[in-house]
Amino acid sequence: MNCGVCTAICPAAEFYNYDPRVIVETVQRGNEEEIEELLKSDTIWYCGECMSCKTRCPRCNTPGLVIMALRKISQELGYFVYSEKGRQQYALKHVIGESILKRGYCVTPDLVKPEMHPEQGPVWEWIYEHLDDVYERTHSNYRQPGAGALREVDSESMDELRKIFDVTGGTEFLEKIDSCSQHVADKEKIDLEEAYFLKTYMENSGRHQ
């Protein structure tokens, strides 16, 4: 199967120098050197996981899932730090991973800092400056115990969530991202949580289109 319908429908292929058909072809060829090169490249990080390829593939294959598998292996082997887009996994771990384990949510309002999110615009800036007032007005239970939107997740539930990460390998996976990133930060003589984070969050060489 090499028709390229996945590439025709792919939002990432339209924006980046990216071709899911070629990735699947490379994986199918099974050449270890080629696959290692792929795992160390920017290429596997261009997909947006919208899974439009799943709908359109005439053989019900899903290049997006092949990408997810490659990304997992790239991180398990520590190859993700070889590419600019791969190194961004640290930023994602730092923001989303830590939020999950600290607060029980992938995203919370205080994470969406206006200086990091200028695209959110002046209304979000106003919300951010008045979180308690705005969320109270809209019937939320912001950072309070009990039910409701944005409630504080109770400590027993948080313990269970963290235990699930421990038991299923989630914690180990996040630690792997951390240790590989720490190694790069040490080599560059920069602080992991500040300078390295900002670099992985903001750096764009412009060589991706």
Partner: protein, 355 residues
């Protein structure tokens, strides 16, 4: 093709949706950007439709944004979702209704995976027991919360205070629907209308008097792309995809956009501002943007809820042009006040986008 054959084909695009007794799972994105939508949904379900919905505070994120950012392994997210199933089972409920499209896609993917690989389900049961000493039954029915509103759209129409009709001209309002990639692109049989015939939101629009725009990029992704938005360096991907949609829909002069997924709703609202700042381009009438609503907000407006009580002041694109067309009365002075009516300032004005 005869009528019977057509009906048979259309049956493939329907899904079973439970009548009552739902376990509600909140959305990280929806509660952050559209908290009033979650409140309105529960209020409508309980007080307008007299349904039994449980909102158990012990459920957490499903970790879906982490999973699709490739920092959370499959076994981990499956076990977190298994815990949600356990909470549902312990409460005596069988019908799972997530508020988030990413969650809905994940729940669907997990149940499908377990269906084809029972050994994976068994392993997850062991993980859950080891971590929490909990056990679970799989949901008898899984529906996104928009599926529930779709199911009761005619009951809602019967209680409607406002219609999706321009009160000044009598013209049906033209809506753009965006069902979100993970609603049905992965498992088309699990969404109403599948991936080809998006019906879940258009069914609501038609039932409430409006018309639906079928534009070329109707099925295109909003551009979230998980890591493509979450990492600042990648956001060009995200805005470029939304721009493609806006340019495709604009010639049809939509009166509003309604979105299934909270992320899509947020992006299509915020990227209109960003594009206006980047290029001076606006997509609505007279310099405004195209108002973007969640389906809960649309439902609540039709039922006569106060626009500020459901959080429409949290949108960057002003909704007032739509409220005026629908003939909804509202207090402009109250828009940015707190619950006690106190002044807490107002947002700054964008450079080009009229608000």
């Amino acid at each position: 093709m005869n009528l019977e054959g057509k009906q048979q084909i259309w049956k493939d695009y329907q899904k079973e949706i439970a009548d009552d007794r739902y376990f509600y799972a909140r959305s990280c994105i929806r509660q952050t950007f559209f908290p009033g939508s979650e409140w309105a949904y529960l209020d409508i379900m309980k007080n307008k439709l007299a349904k039994d919905v449980i909102d158990d505070p012990r459920h957490t994120t499903c970790t879906g944004i982490g999973y699709h950012s490739d920092i959370v392994p499959a076994e981990t997210i499956m076990t977190v979702v298994a815990r949600h199933f356990a909470l549902m089972t312990e409460a005596g409920y069988e019908n799972m209704t997530p508020s988030c499209i990413t969650s809905f896609g994940i729940y669907t993917e997990i149940l499908e995976t377990w269906h084809h690989h029972p050994e994976v389900e068994e392993k997850i049961r062991e993980f859950l027991w080891k971590a929490t000493k909990r056990e679970f039954k799989k949901p008898r029915n899984l529906a996104h919360t928009s599926d529930i509103i779709y199911k009761f759209r005619n009951e809602i129409a019967a209680q409607a205070k406002y219609k999706l009709v321009d009160v000044h001209t009598g013209r049906p309002l033209r809506g753009v629907d965006h069902i979100g990639c993970h609603y049905s692109k992965m498992f088309p049989t699990k969404g109403i209308g599948g991936a080809e015939f998006p019906a879940v939101l258009s069914g609501m629009i038609y039932a409430w008097g409006g018309d639906v725009i079928d534009y070329p990029e109707r099925r295109h992704c909003c551009g979230f792309g998980f890591r493509q938005y979450l990492v600042m360096a990648n956001r060009g991907y995200s805005v470029a995809n939304s721009k493609k949609k806006f340019e495709s829909m604009q010639p049809y002069e939509p009166d509003f956009i309604v979105a299934n997924c909270p992320g899509c709703a947020m992006f299509m609202d915020k990227w209109q501002y960003t594009i206006s700042e980047m290029e001076g381009t606006t997509y609505g009438q007279d310099g405004y943007g195209i108002p973007v609503l969640t389906y809960e907000e649309l439902t609540a407006l039709v039922l006569g809820y106060d626009p500020w009580e459901i959080g429409l002041q949290m949108h960057q694109v002003s909704v007032e042009p739509l409220l005026d067309k629908m003939g909804i009365s509202y207090n402009p002075e109250a828009k940015f006040k707190n619950i006690r009516g106190e002044d807490i300032g107002v947002p700054k004005c964008p450079t080009y986008l009229r608000v």
